[in-house]
């Protein structure tokens, strides 16, 4: 599974890793930590066409549902059954077993417009991280 250093990141705390023409998508360790105990995950269904930044997935912790956004445009080609069966996997392993879905990018170059690992770490330290969109 992808190492953070090989992934790209959004300001809404999703990661995407492009390998073999398919992007794997999940939420960052920071996101799972803030959302806290995840009890439900609803990834997008395979075949669904997503736009970049489109709300496409819901995760729920006790009492609160959160929208998750697609980092790039493309077609969903897989959803992670492991996280729907055991949502806590996202807390335990957000960047490995806890991935959410896989996308066939509409434009593979789009992923390079996202933040790299170092930039995301800087982003987390800035006020921007505390202002959301």
């Amino acid at each position: 599974m992808p190492k953070p250093e090989n992934c790209r990141f959004t300001k809404t705390h999703e990661w995407a890793c492009l390998e073999g023409g398919v992007a794997t998508v999940g939420v960052t360790d920071h996101a799972q930590h803030e959302i806290t105990d995840i009890v439900f995950v609803e990834p997008p269904k395979p075949g669904r066409q997503l736009k970049a930044a489109e709300a496409c997935c819901v995760v729920e912790s006790v009492k609160a549902a959160f929208d998750i956004y697609s980092p790039i445009a493309g077609e969903v080609v897989a959803a992670n059954d492991a996280v729907t069966k055991d949502p806590a996997v996202v807390n335990r392993s957000p960047q490995e077993e806890g991935w959410l879905f896989k996308l066939k990018p509409a434009n593979p170059g789009e992923v390079n417009k996202l933040m790299d690992w170092k930039s995301y770490q800087e982003f987390l330290k800035t006020a921007e991280a505390h202002a959301g969109h």
Binding site: I35, E60, V62
Partner: protein, 213 residues
């Protein structure tokens, strides 16, 4: 439900919008991730018609709306932060208002070391930061949704004597929430939000939404 989502989507990011609403007859709402069958069985046990059963956009459990005071608050939630903190903040505001109106209430805290429960029905017992009376009976429970940099809280308040003092309790809640957030809360709806709600109304009435799992 449709209007709450419309306000969540349409209101400016910095705006606080507080809304009190009533139900036409007994109704039941259930959490975003809950199975419809669970809600349907609960509704049947109270003779609530299926047309009065609706899935919320927020999390949490089943809530019976039969004489409660139901309200929603749309608020800025710019930084991804633990929902327990937001939940407590909303309920601190509500507590402040209720205490001012002479009610006995407090924020419930779970015993040290107790595991957090996920209750199928919201009012089966208190959860951390719920409001309870002096006997530990739950008075206020709620649930949250975060979308982009905004949050939606939907809450249900159960008090004795609510019908006689409904307007006074609404004013007390509004004052307490405004004090807690340090902001004026608008209760006015803009025409564009109402139009958006009309577009969303079909979703909340649909089987696709309510029976999606």
């Amino acid at each position: 439900m449709a209007l709450d989502e419309a306000v969540l989507v349409c209101a400016p990011p910095e705006r606080f919008v507080l809304r009190f609403f009533r139900w036409v007859g007994p109704a039941l709402t259930f959490g975003y991730s809950q199975p419809y069958a669970l809600a349907e069985a609960a509704a049947r046990s109270r003779s609530i018609p299926t047309g009065q059963v609706v899935r919320r956009a927020t999390g949490g459990g089943i809530v019976f709306h039969d004489g409660d005071l139901t309200f929603s608050l749309v608020f800025p939630w710019p930084r991804l932060s633990p929902p327990a903190e937001i939940y407590e903040k909303v309920h601190r505001g509500a507590l402040s208002g209720l205490l001012d109106s002479g009610m006995e209430a407090s924020l419930w805290a779970s015993p040290a070391g107790a595991a957090r429960l996920r209750r199928a029905q919201c009012f089966l017992g208190p959860e951390p930061s719920d409001l309870v009376d002096g006997c530990g009976r739950k008075l206020l429970g709620g649930a949250l949704r975060r979308r982009l940099s905004r949050g939606l809280y939907q809450g249900s308040l159960r008090l004795s004597g609510l019908d006689e003092r409904r307007t006074a309790f609404e004013a007390a809640l509004a004052a307490g929430l405004a004090r807690e957030w340090g902001r004026l809360l608008s209760c006015e709806l803009e025409p564009a939000w109402i139009a958006a709600a009309e577009d969303l109304a079909g979703k909340y009435a649909s089987e696709d939404w309510n029976r999606r799992r």
